[in-house]
Structure formats: C-alpha cells, structure tokens
Amino acid sequence: MKEVVKFGRPSGFFEKFERRPGPIKTNMHYCPGCGHGVLHKLIAEAIGDMGLKDKAVLVCPVGCSVFAYYYFDCHSIECAHGRAPAVATAISRTDPENVVIGYQGDGDLASIGFNQILQAANRGENMCVFFVNNAIYGMTGGQMAPTSLPGQKTQTSPCGRDVAETGYPIKVAEMIAQFEAPVYVERCALSRVPNIMAARRAVRKAIQNTVDKKGFSFVELLSGCPVNLKMKAHEMNEFLNEKMTKFFPLGVYKDVSAEREAIVRHTPIFEPDQVRELLFPEETKRAVDDNFRYTAKVFDEERRVKISGFGGQGVLSLGYLLATMGKLRNFNVSWLPSYGPEMRGGTANCSIVFSHTHVGSPQADHNCSMLICMNQPSVDKFLGQLGENGVLLYDASTIRQPEVSPDKTVYGLAASDLANTLGDQRVANSVMLGGIARLMQDCFLEGKESEDFDLAVEEAMNEHFAGKPQKVIDLNMKAYRLGKESVSIRFGARVK
C-alpha cells in the first residue's frame, strides 16, 4: 500500500482572491471538471516551493484563464489574444533574472497566436510555457479549436469536425520539439492521478529550467472542459484518456536541459560618460572653428544643389561629401536621396541644400543653384530645374553639350574618362568634385575661402572614408585634383 501524500494549499496563491470581483473570494471561477484549476495549483505550488513569488512573472492569455491573475501571488500581466509569447519575450530579455511563465489555451496559442509561440520557441527565449489543450474554445462558448478531434461536434462544427474542410488537429508539442532551440518539451494530461503527478513533475522541471536560464521549455497539458464538450465527469476522463491521448500521445518529446549552458545576456550601459564615449562620433580634424563662416554672398540664402546619374556612379556619395563639407564649415545643410526601387532600378539623384540660416525645403526641385549631371537622362530630366543664373556641371565623357539660356553657366568635365585613366571608374564622382571646386572658385569664392575649399574637401574625405585604407583617400584626392585641373568646357554668364 503506497503512502498517501497530502499537499497543502499552494503558497503561490493569494490567501484570499481579492482581485476577483463579486462576493466570492476563496474559490476560482472555473467550472467543475475544468483542468485550469488543477494546473493553477501545480504552478502556484511550484512558485511557492521554489521561492519565486518575487521573481516570477505570469503572462496570461485570452480565454478562460484570462483571470489567472486573480489567484497567483506574483507579478502578472494580461495579454492580447495569442500574443503572450511576444510579451513574455520582452519581459525575459529586459531582465534576465525574471522567471517568466507563459500560460495559454489552444485557441490563443495554436490559432490566433501560433506565429508568436513558434517564433519565441525558435528563438529559444528563456521562459516556460504551459499550454492547456482541451480541444475546444471555452470562454467564447464551445467553438472548434485547432486541436478539436476529427468528428468532434462543436458550435462551429455542428456536424463534427470534417478534416477535409478544416484540417487535422494541430500537434503543437511535436512541432515545437522539431526546433533546435527549445530545451524541454513534454505532453501531459490532467486526467487521472498518475497523469497529474507526471504533470506536476513537468511543471517543476520547466520552471526550474527557466530559473537556470536554460532557454525555452514547453509543457502541453490535455485538459477537460465538461461544460463545452457537453460531457459528464466520467465521460470527460474517458475522452481525455482514450480519445485525446490517441491523437496527442503523452510523453517527453525533447529534453536537452542537462547539456545546455545557461543563457548569458548583456548588461545595459546607462552611465552618461560611457554612453557618450560609445555613441558620439570622433571629431574630424578641422582647420576652422565653430564661428567660421564663408562670407561669399552666394550663401546669403538657401542654395540648392542637385546631383544625378546612374546608380553606382557615386552620385549619393558625392552629395554626402558635399553635405559633410557643409557640416564641417558650419553651414546648415540637408541631403535628400531618391530612395527605394528608384535607386535599385538604376538611376539615382540627391538634393543638397546649404544655408547660413535655415534650410526650408530640402528638395532641389526648382530654383537649383547648381546641377551636377553624370548621365544624359539627368540633363534631359533636370535641366529645367536649374534656376536663374544657375550653374551646370556635366560629365563630358558621356553627355552631349547642352544648350542653355544666356543667364546660365556651363562646366564640362570628362569625369568618367579621367577616372578610367586612374584605373578606377568608381572615382568619377571625386573627379566631378574637382569640377565643383573649380567652378566654386571661379564663380563664387574669393581669397581665403577659395583656398579653404581644398582643405574642406580633404577633411570631408577623411571623415567619409574613415576606417578605409589610406590609399583609398589618396586615390580619391588624386581624382579630385585631376578633375580640378581638367575642366575642358567653360562658358556662360559667370565665366570671367
């Protein structure tokens, strides 16, 4: 004769269920014969016995167990239908010392929230999930669940579940056991006493794995719902033991908890000095201080520059270099790329706006001061946006000399050909930057500012190519100087 062991009231429950509305503060809201009450006891007992009342966070679902937080004397959170694993993920990740316990029913877990449970399992989140499978929707009143058995009559399968129409019951424990990451997967049943004792061991093992930071543990529990399955108590047990277990065999599907190391997460850094050190950029060596201003009148108002060409010609980088120069010389500056499929489709353009005061529209869509074109379609498309007295710079290797109104100024430079002579087509944009320097110095800048332009280019290159080998910077500077010397076409209003 085996010794009878009596377990007391689980210490993981509140003394009184004060959170439960209404006059009844000592009983649970579950129907007679329901498995939730049994499982609640097993979990509460483990939480109490293992001393986890301050560390455990119970993540509650939508379904009959939506009110689980009435009962458990630990932190708890109520989640949107199916999303408990996502909520649990965040609670676990943001404080690895939390012992996160997920609790879900079959509609919640295996239907509306199926992606969340599979993904959390696959990521191997440090949590344990208890999955109550009673083959029916309880709270909403007896509809078909993803785990309803073939032929099972429910409110939404009144003639019995037709597998040809609605598929087969989903075997969740088997699925999760297929993933690499989970450490422990078992299916138990909350039917007769030996099964409940096995469930008790499984609950404790899963929670212990979470305490030990082993990763994802999952226990599926076949459970009764006599009210919605319209069964008497003995029929219910028979259904669980004979029918459900046939489709959902009990047992351990995976257990690698012994060989898994504890998960180690990083400690977040908040100390301001450390944050500044890790986040703020290194200052580039600058020849000027924060009070430096180009005095050229041209910058009294917003100056819009558009650069356009084929993707891969370095159009966006050239714009970025100009914007960096602007930043280093204390301009307010904006850089706006064309983005998305347009970029992937082969053409690219960007707008850069400089100002000593405020930059309004960041788009160079009309009144461009400077248009830089690296292919023929760019000239065809954007020449009309060049404003009064505007300056055009184009790659004379591939573009026909354009006709412009007399107020405009035109510079041509065989940038692509020159880049080829340097052995690298990719530096055509730096050759064009040389052309920009030439036209800036010709048309707008004087004296010290004119000399400073070369320095600003060098500083911007150093910043842009920071971390790249010195030879990259050298090649680009060489291309820049070559471009500056090689402007072959100059005509129009501003050419002195």
């Binding site: 989640c79 996502a86 649990a88 965040a90 943001t94 944050v275």
Partner: protein, 355 residues
C-alpha cells in the same frame, strides 16, 4: 581629437540616437520601407550599449514586446510605417488601456493599401484620432527636421512616462530619409524603477491589465483617461511660429510639408504678401492656442498644407471654430508638395488679395 556632438545623420538614424540618449532600453521592430533605417541603426547601436534589440517576427509581435517591456518598467520603443502601424493598433490600445509608457515611431508612406514607399502624411487620422479600438488618445509629436527626430524622440519618452501613455513620433518618408546636421543632446541615465511595474524590486505583486469586467469600473477608467487627455490638451500643446507677427494668411503644416511652407512664406513675403506659418510640433494635442492667437491677431485665411486628403484640415477648422475660411493645399500618393506649387496655389486662392 575628442568626441563631437555635431553629426550628419538621416532622420531615421537620429530617432535611434534620441532613443538611446533618452535611456531607451529596448527596440522591437520589423523591417519596412521607409522606416527600416531605424531598425538598422538600432541593430547596430542598442547591443553596443548592452541594450536589447529584437527583430520581431511581425509588427504585432513587436508592439506586444513593447507592451511587455513597458510593463516590466523599461523604456521601450518600436517603429514602422503606415501598414505596419495599422497592424500594431490593437497593441497600442492595450498599452493605452493599461496606462503604460511607450514610444512608437511612424515614418509615413503612400497609402491606402500597399500604396508605395514615397512620403505621405495620410496616417494623420489613424495616429492622431486614436487608431485602435476603444476611447483612447496618444500624444503625437511631429518632427520637422532631423534635429527634431532626435529631440522629439527624447521628449516622447519623457511625456510617455509623465502621463503613462503611448506617444507617437509621426514622421514621413522624406524626414526619415534625409540627412541634416544635428547636435546630439547629452545622454540621460537610467530611469528609476516604477512602483507600478512588474519589477523584481517591487515587493507588491503588480498586475498589468486593461480588463475591467464591471461596466462601472471600466467607465471610471475611461473617465480617468479622459481627464488625463484634458490635462495633456491644456499643458502640452507645442508649435513653432514663423513670420506670424503680422500674418494675414496662415499656413498650418507639419513635418516635411512645413519645410516647403517655410520656403513658400519667404518667397511670398518677398513679394509683399503677409503670409506666416504655424508648424504643429504636437498633433495631439493640436496647437489650438497658436491658431486662436493668430485669429485674434487678425489672420484672415488659413491653409491646411498636407500630403494627405484633407485630414488635418478638420483640426484647423475646429481650432478656429470655422471663424475664417480654411483652404486645403495638398498632394497625395507619395507626391511631395513643392515650394513652387504651394506659392502658385496660394496665389490662385487668394486672387488679388495676395500683394
């Protein structure tokens, strides 16, 4: 050489700097154009500071991760574009209902449906008027520059904490994609633990929930929320005014549209037309006070300038109680308003008045 505060950043990247400087502990997100750079920069930089970055399996998971982290007392954020935000709305309603602080960034693109990836401002109603189920509002901040993408993200975390409510940073594809020079603010330390949170240091065992089965209980919660929104309306209106002193005609525009308007104001002023700009930095609360002040200062006509089908215009009309004509200047479908177009259409609408 030391460290510098000056940096050239994309708007989307500036959001991440702002979040980290504000002490945001975790980022949860799903890729979507034109907001993806927020996820990219977060993936690079959150782990660098030992903070949490998770690429969630979907938008729904990411907002529910924010819900979980916020409940655990952590500064948390997510970001997406309109389609993704639509998916997140249920979760935002839960966050509002449970009165948790959280920051959500919407970098708007063209809609409805799959739309396109060009900038639009047509999520206005979805974000400003609630969006999900139930009677809640979110604070909505609308950055008009890359600097503000950083600054307003920081402010978003503070307001979220102060009012225990979700706060949106509502940007558009263009502000997100463009680069500007900005000055990085000083970093903040970690926010103190909250006594309502699911934090181990709290000896009371808290429950985070938005379920109230008793109608009277839930009505009381709704009343409390609405009282909070009334305080927010009173205290948190923010707007920038440009050349409004003697303005007879007033542009109201936020985000990228406000930038075009600012240039349009300069252009029309140079022709002698007394135009000014009110740029809402908060869309909820809508800066009614700034509009009413303009009205009492003699403004004759208002223009709602937006990249959407006339959504903000309702709030402009409500603010001035339709006391003066309000016109719509807009583009849709990812077309960006140009300065030229704003100027031309203003002149058309004003006729001979614009001198």
């Amino acid at each position: 050489m030391g460290k510098t505060k000056k940096i050239l950043l994309k708007g989307n990247e500036a959001v991440v700097y702002g979040a980290l400087l504000a002490g945001c502990e975790c980022y949860f997100g799903y890729p979507i154009t034109p907001a993806s750079e927020i996820a990219h920069a977060s993936a690079r930089m959150f782990p660098k500071l030992g903070r949490v970055f998770i690429q969630a399996e979907c938008e729904i998971a990411s907002i529910n991760m924010v819900y979980g982290a916020a409940a655990a007392g952590r500064r948390a954020m997510t970001a997406s574009s309109g389609l993704g935000i639509s998916l997140k709305q249920e979760g935002v309603s839960y966050i509002a209902g449970a009165e948790l602080p959280a920051v959500i960034v919407d970098v708007m693109r063209g809609g409805p449906g799959l739309g396109n990836i060009a900038p639009e401002q047509a999520d206005y109603n979805q974000i400003v008027k609630g969006g999900g189920h139930g009677g809640y509002r979110c604070i909505v901040l609308s950055p008009g520059s890359v600097q503000e993408m950083c600054d307003l993200t920081m402010l978003a975390f503070d307001l979220a904490d102060e009012y225990r409510t979700p706060v949106y940073v509502l940007a558009d594809g263009m502000i997100g994609q463009m680069m500007e020079k900005l000055e990085l603010p000083e970093p903040r330390g970690r926010r103190a633990s909250q006594d309502w949170s699911l934090n181990r240091v709290n000896k009371t065992h808290n429950c985070v929930s938005s379920i109230y089965m008793d109608a009277n209980d839930l009505e009381a919660v709704n009343k409390r929320l609405n009282a909070k929104y009334a305080v927010i309306r009173e205290k948190e209106q923010r707007a920038e005014e440009y050349r409004m002193d003697d303005a007879e005609y007033v542009y109201v525009a936020y985000g990228i549209s406000s930038r075009m308007c600012r240039s349009a104001v300069d252009e029309l002023r140079s022709e002698g037309c007394k135009v000014g700009l009110i740029r809402p930095q908060t869309l909820f609360p809508f800066p009614e006070n700034a509009l009413r002040k303009a009205l009492s200062n003699g403004a004759k006509k208002f223009f709602s300038v937006e990249m959407s089908n006339g959504q903000m215009i309702d709030d402009v009309k409500l603010s001035i109680e339709c006391a003066k004509p309000v016109y719509l200047i807009n583009r849709m479908g990812g077309n960006v308003l140009s300065v030229e177009e704003i100027v031309t259409r203003t002149k058309e609408m004003l006729g001979g008045d614009c001198k």
